[in-house]
């Protein structure tokens, strides 16, 4: 249980910390330091197990489907990193207490810091690769927020985004790599993966997996060519830099190398990719550090270089190199963290980090200076300090690499060269800051020692440097050993951690590095001049430029494709249909089925001809809108006739009524629109459209021909058989509509209702001014309501109502029904509006069309729901024949109520639609909400 707790504690702290923000910085600092301290305490009991190469594993199932489990695993390697994270973490918390200003959002700061700590612990303690990846990405996110802590600074924001992009992106690569490994091994449990090293390396996917994993590691550990993000992360508050960018996060990459060492290392590919990346990073970092005038910049690049060193060591592939790498991880963490803190103190006390202005601080802050100088010497690799020891091991290993011929010289030379640079920039750090004359107009003058407690963390770390430097075996021996054990998977080579190994080649290299380094520093102005020839590139700006460029390109590209042209979208739609249907239809060809063609009868042929002419004419002269409208209604009429001709009386009637209402609708719209369509599309475009249209038409023709001549049988037999006995009606179409498929009808009247309601809503606050005339030079007539029309309209309404009643009542057995009846009534009402005008008619229509719609839907629903009472499903109909004295025998069908609902809904919707549009007319003075419109 204790391991999950170790990871969980900091997160709990993160939640708790902000609550103490009110209590001031001390309170919150103390509060924040409690979780890591408990965590430390929780780790120690396990030491016994680890000392003799054991492993502590606490595992809980989570998502077996993914293969991700909550398993936490503690071994030497994990312990080593966990201690670094926790101990340095505590020191940072203490340090930050003094570094931050009271005005700053300390709650946020500590909360994020603890989040980061937790994520970091998660990485090192995960016993499951996917779990580790989650924490891995979490560190990217938290560090993003920490770097951009000062959100008002543009550099901070950009640096943070760059860091997130690089490390987060690397994380995604790592994810891919891990998934492949898991796929090979069949498990993501660390134990299984580490045990399956041979299997992995033998697998064909190994190169891919390795590359992806290394991408993750290198981005995180700022390896060339991904190193550029790290220096820019220095925009973060110094405690963050000290913690994330020296001791912990950037070590996650190398941790990964160590963690997966047994599983991935020991191949050619590993050797070349890792060691050469490391070498390049080592050199570039060291070289650049030399020329940074920014205190933190110098440290950042030196960090890059040291990470390169560690990577190189892991890359070498020898066991001793690995040990050296682990050892250097500890050493670098200690001296670099202390150096950052020192830099932070200097920044804090002088108000600047520019070494060209910071000079001779020895006089103002001797104590801090001493600490910084010791740490810097360790960085330079001065004997009796920890940096020296690991560097000696590194030099030794660089000689051990037995590369063929001339290549054998490369590693030692690179190592020495890097050593020289290291000495040089360390020397600069010491001399240029603490000596080298007087300060140059510092923002804060005179600088003096920081608060006592601010130095304690530095002192502790520097003390550690010395301790390790002098008594390596006692101080870190056991820890390093168990870490090595864990990394190398058992057999650790015999090595001795001694201060001196006598006069040997590595020592000579160190000496050379010293002499060279000091020489170089003394000649620094030359080098600066030389370096100044190449102009500094600001990666941050480059990154920003790239992102903006991409965003801009993306925007242009999008605007190019998604150009808000309906014509294009429709074209794409039609083209897609043609594309997907082409193959089967070409395959089908002109196909006449087994039923063959029935003889032509001429009346039908002529009507068809009329329809075709009218349809094509509509398209041809569509720019003359009214004429097109007239032609369109010819089409509608013939379609209705066709329905009648081919035994669909109900359809014929519906089509007729709908068509007229549609025409009225279109004319209502045309009143406000130009009566001519301008000719604006290019000839090419029109040709394209014509071709597309013809292809579509041809396709439909082929399909129809094939269908009509194919014999077929359908489920309709059932309807024909059960219409009368089961549905109580002889008009099968109507029975289908109100009974067999009544649910479709319910949906359909809902559509009608919704359409009407939204149309009403849409036009509510719309103001349209009609053109003064018909566009052919005639202004509209003033006479609204011709006498003859008014007179004929009077008797029409009652007659129409009776006809509706007739059509409605017979609908269940004869052609007719709710729809048609409803449309007839609506049309009769429309005539009233046309003849006598909106106001006149509205005054006489006493119901709100909204309510008619509602009633319609309600009737239909209730009629359907009635059956529920008898335990039958929704829309189950019943009918019976009742005999009354005078009246005689007649049928009552619940379906009739349903159809009544349809009738009402149709009336309500149609009228609401037409009235809503008519209301726009300037002549109709209806605006009061009391009325329908």
């Amino acid at each position: 249980m204790s391991l999950p707790l170790v990871v969980l504690l900091p997160f709990l702290g993160a939640i708790a910390a902000p609550l103490f923000a009110q209590g001031g910085r001390t309170a919150i600092a103390i509060a924040s330091s409690i979780p890591p301290l408990i965590a430390l305490a929780a780790l120690f009991p396990h030491w016994a197990t680890l000392a003799d190469g054991g492993v502590v594993l606490h595992s809980y199932e989570w998502l077996p489907a993914i293969g991700i489990s909550l398993s936490f695993r503690l071994d030497g390697l994990a312990l080593m990193f966990a201690l670094l994270i926790l101990i340095i973490g505590v020191l940072i918390i203490l340090y930050a207490r003094y570094y931050l200003k009271p005005s700053e959002n300390v709650g946020k700061f500590y909360s994020l810091l603890l989040c980061f700590m937790g994520s970091m612990l998660g990485i090192v303690l995960s016993g499951n690769l996917l779990l580790m990846l989650i924490f891995w990405e979490l560190t990217s996110l938290t560090s993003f927020l920490l770097i951009s802590f000062w959100t008002h600074k543009q550099d901070a924001r950009r640096g943070a985004r760059m860091a997130l992009a690089v490390t987060g992106g690397g994380g995604l690569a790592l994810l891919a790599g891990i998934l492949i490994i898991g796929n090979i091994v069949g498990s993501f449990e660390l134990d299984d993966v580490l045990a399956a090293g041979e299997l992995i390396k033998a697998h064909t996917m190994y190169p891919v997996a390795l590359t992806l994993v290394l991408l993750g590691a290198f981005t995180k550990s700022a390896q060339f060519p991904f190193h550029f993000w790290l220096p820019h992360a220095m925009q973060a508050p110094t405690p963050v830099s000290a913690y994330l960018h020296s001791a912990t996060m950037v070590k996650a990459g190398v941790f990964l190398l160590a963690r997966l060492y047994p599983a991935l290392a020991g191949t050619e590919q590993w050797f070349y990719m890792v060691s050469f990346t490391g070498m390049a990073t080592l050199l570039i970092g060291a070289y650049t550090a030399m020329f940074k005038h920014d205190l933190k910049g110098l440290l950042a690049h030196s960090t890059v270089s040291h990470l390169g060193l560690i990577t190189l060591l892991f890359g070498m592939g020898t066991k001793l190199a690995a040990v050296a790498a682990l050892f250097h991880v500890i050493n670098h963490a200690t001296f670099k963290a202390s150096l950052f803190m020192a830099a932070g103190i200097i920044d804090h006390e002088t108000g600047t980090r520019d070494m060209r202005r910071i000079n001779g601080l020895w006089r103002y802050m001797p104590h801090t200076a001493t600490l910084a100088m010791v740490a810097a010497s360790s960085m330079a690799g001065v004997p009796l300090l920890n940096g020296f020891l690991s560097k000696e091991m590194f030099f030794a290993e660089s000689l051990e690499l037995n590369l063929p011929g001339f290549w054998a010289w490369i590693p030692p030379i690179v190592a020495t060269l890097a050593g020289i640079f290291a000495v040089a920039y360390s020397a600069r750090f010491v001399h240029d800051v603490f000596f080298n004359g007087k300060p140059v107009n510092l923002p804060i003058y005179p600088p003096h020692e920081p608060p006592r407690y601010m130095k304690i963390p530095v002192e502790i770390l520097v003390f550690a440097c010395v301790m390790v430097g002098v008594f390596p075996a006692i101080s870190v021996g056991p820890l390093l050993f168990s870490a090595a054990q864990a990394t190398l998977g058992g057999d650790v080579p015999d090595y001795q951690l001694a201060v001196m190994h006598g006069i040997n080649l590595p020592l000579m290299m160190s000496v050379a590095a010293f002499v060279g380094g000091l020489l170089m520093y003394s000649q620094r102005q030359r080098f600066f001049r030389f370096h100044a020839r190449f102009k500094e590139i600001d990666e941050k700006a480059v990154f920003e430029a790239i992102v903006s460029r991409f965003a801009d390109l993306a925007n242009r590209f999008t605007a190019l494709i998604e150009n808000n042209s309906l014509q294009r979208y429709v074209m794409l739609l039609v083209a897609s249909v043609v594309a997907v249907a082409a193959a089967p239809l070409i395959n089908l060809g002109i196909f006449i089925g087994d039923n063959g063609l029935t003889p032509v009868d001429w009346p039908t042929a002529i009507s068809a001809a009329i329809l075709v002419i009218a349809a094509l004419a509509t398209a041809v002269i569509h720019r003359e809108r009214f004429t097109a409208l007239v032609l369109l209604s010819v089409v509608g009429l013939i379609v209705a006739l066709a329905f009648a001709r081919f035994s669909a009386p109900d359809l014929a009637m519906t089509q007729l009524s709908v068509e007229v209402v549609t025409m009225v609708l279109l004319m209502l719209a045309l009143y406000y629109m130009p009566s001519w369509t301008p000719l604006e599309t290019s000839k090419a475009r029109r040709t394209r459209d014509i071709i597309l249209a013809l292809v579509a038409g041809a396709g439909m023709t082929l399909v129809t021909l094939a269908i009509l001549t194919q014999p077929f049988s359908s489920i309709s037999e059932f309807f024909l058989e059960n219409s009368k006995p089961g549905g109580g009606g002889t008009n099968v179409v109507n029975v289908i509509l109100v009974d067999f498929r009544g649910f479709d009808t319910l949906g359909e009247i809902s559509v009608l209702a919704i359409a009407a309601l939204s149309i009403y809503a849409m036009l509510k606050n719309t103001a349209l001014t009609p053109p003064p005339g018909d566009g052919q030079g005639h202004t509209w007539s003033r006479e609204p309501h011709p006498l003859m029309l008014k007179q004929i309209a009077r008797p029409m309404l009652p007659m129409a109502l009776m006809v509706s009643a007739y059509i409605f009542l017979r609908g269940h057995n004869m052609p007719g029904g709710g729809f048609i009846a409803g449309l007839i009534t609506s049309v009769a009402l429309v005539v009233q509006y046309i003849a006598s005008g909106m106001n006149w008619t509205q005054d006489r229509v006493r119901i709100k069309y909204h309510n008619v719609i509602g009633l319609g839907l309600l009737f239909a629903t209730v009629a359907g729901a009635g059956s529920l009472a008898f335990g039958y499903p929704f829309l189950t109909t019943t009918f019976g024949y009742i005999t009354w004295p005078v009246v005689g025998k007649f049928e009552v069908a619940s379906a009739l109520v349903f159809d009544l609902g349809v009738y009402l809904a149709v009336i309500g919707a149609t009228m609401l639609i037409l009235v809503s549009i008519g209301r726009l007319s300037p002549h109709s003075a209806i605006k009061s909400p009391r009325r329908n419109s």
Binding site: V703, F719, D744, V751, A761
Partner: protein, 505 residues
Amino acid sequence: MNHWLIAPIALPLLGGILQTFMGYAPISLRRTLAIATTALILASSLVLLSLANDGSYRIYAFGNWQPPFGIVLVLDRLAALMLVLTSTLAMFAHIFSIGGSDEGNRQFHTLFLFQLMGLNIAFLTGDLFNLFVAFEVLLIASYGLLMHGGGTIRTVPGLHYVVLNLAGSAIFLIAVGMIYSVTGTLNMADLAVKIPQVTGEGLDLVKAGAMMLLVVFGLKAAILPLCFWLPQAYAKATAPVAALFAVMTKVGIYAIIRVYILIFGENAGELAHLGMDWLFPLALITLAMGVIGALGADNLKTLISWQVVISVGTLLAPIALGSEPGLSAALFYLLSTTWTVAGLFLVAELIAVQRGSARDRIITAPKMQHRTFLSVLFMLGAVAAAGLPPLSGFFGKVLILKSVEPGPQMAWLWSVLLIGSFLSVVAYSRAGSIVFWRTVDGHLEKPEPMKGVVSVSAGALIALTIVIVFLAGPINAYTEATAAQLFDTAAYTEILQTPMAAEND
């Protein structure tokens, strides 16, 4: 026959009817009733989920007519999942709307409820033509909702959306006609039985029809090249509507899953896996297009709209590969992405309200009120959407990545998906840091107060992404079961034998 099955349809219908009568009732009353209705819908969907979880098929035969003759509703795990997904989302979106965005149009709640009715019919129906009707119901309601909020900005996108979908409906009808003209039936189960027996020229007709159907579903799902109507329409819609629309594209995806696994699945003989070879590359291109759009977006709502396109691509790629794990993964991701995107739409609105004239555009503006709260919500949403750990999106994507068999398809899917995630991270971090952090001095003209219901509903919707993480185990178990059930098409066709309620006396 279990009457719970019509609850998700009957409730919004009755609620909607009630609303039409209440045109002039006080808004508070209308709101109460509307929200109550949605809550009931959510409750009933949960009931159906618990029913469906036993892995059996339940049917509801309207009019007590034996399928394939009558229309049936079919409840299975997939349907239940979609119902819960939708009604949960709707619940929060609806609550958000009573924060004030429902004003200005008395029909808002009517339309909202009818929209839900359409969606629920689409998820439950077992009849191809009834699916068409369902589409029409939810479309016409969506047209109305899209135009809700007045102003002129919505008109053109609305027009495009409407015209395209009308054309789509026409194509749908043609497709139905082609399929009926050969098989003589409309019931999906019956089709699943009949399609394998189709021979000769019938094959060509059905194939053409089915492919056209795929185009229609593709249009609804917004697959490239049919996705360009979406960004403008969604970006311009009022927040709760946009949030609800997050589920609209998923209807298309649902239809693809339903029809192309059940009817044109592996048992479809000559027509097995129809169109899936088209779908996979298109899905990847769609994903890429979405990422490009997101990268180029110059306001948050457009960015999120493109995120919708991204998730469509992400979902359809594994579906097209037609493996059971892939489908399960897609369903898991579906749940996550839909809620996340919807939540982001709401958050974007909250942000827009706080930034005065700058609205949600990705530009420098005066420091906004409630910055921390909003930025946290946005960050959660962004992380989930981009598929970074530890939020639900990540698990969805991992499931999808893992579901692919090694091979060229794996290479394609992995690279597009991962690079896509990377670029979305870039896009979101850029947008977020500009909107929240790059502030100029000066203050907004009267910063509007943030209403409780509004922020709570938005926050809750975003928070669901965390809930999913904690319930990942059971959810994944459910999606796996769902996938298994879907691939067992024989079981589905057995609904044709379900006995009807006893004939009365």
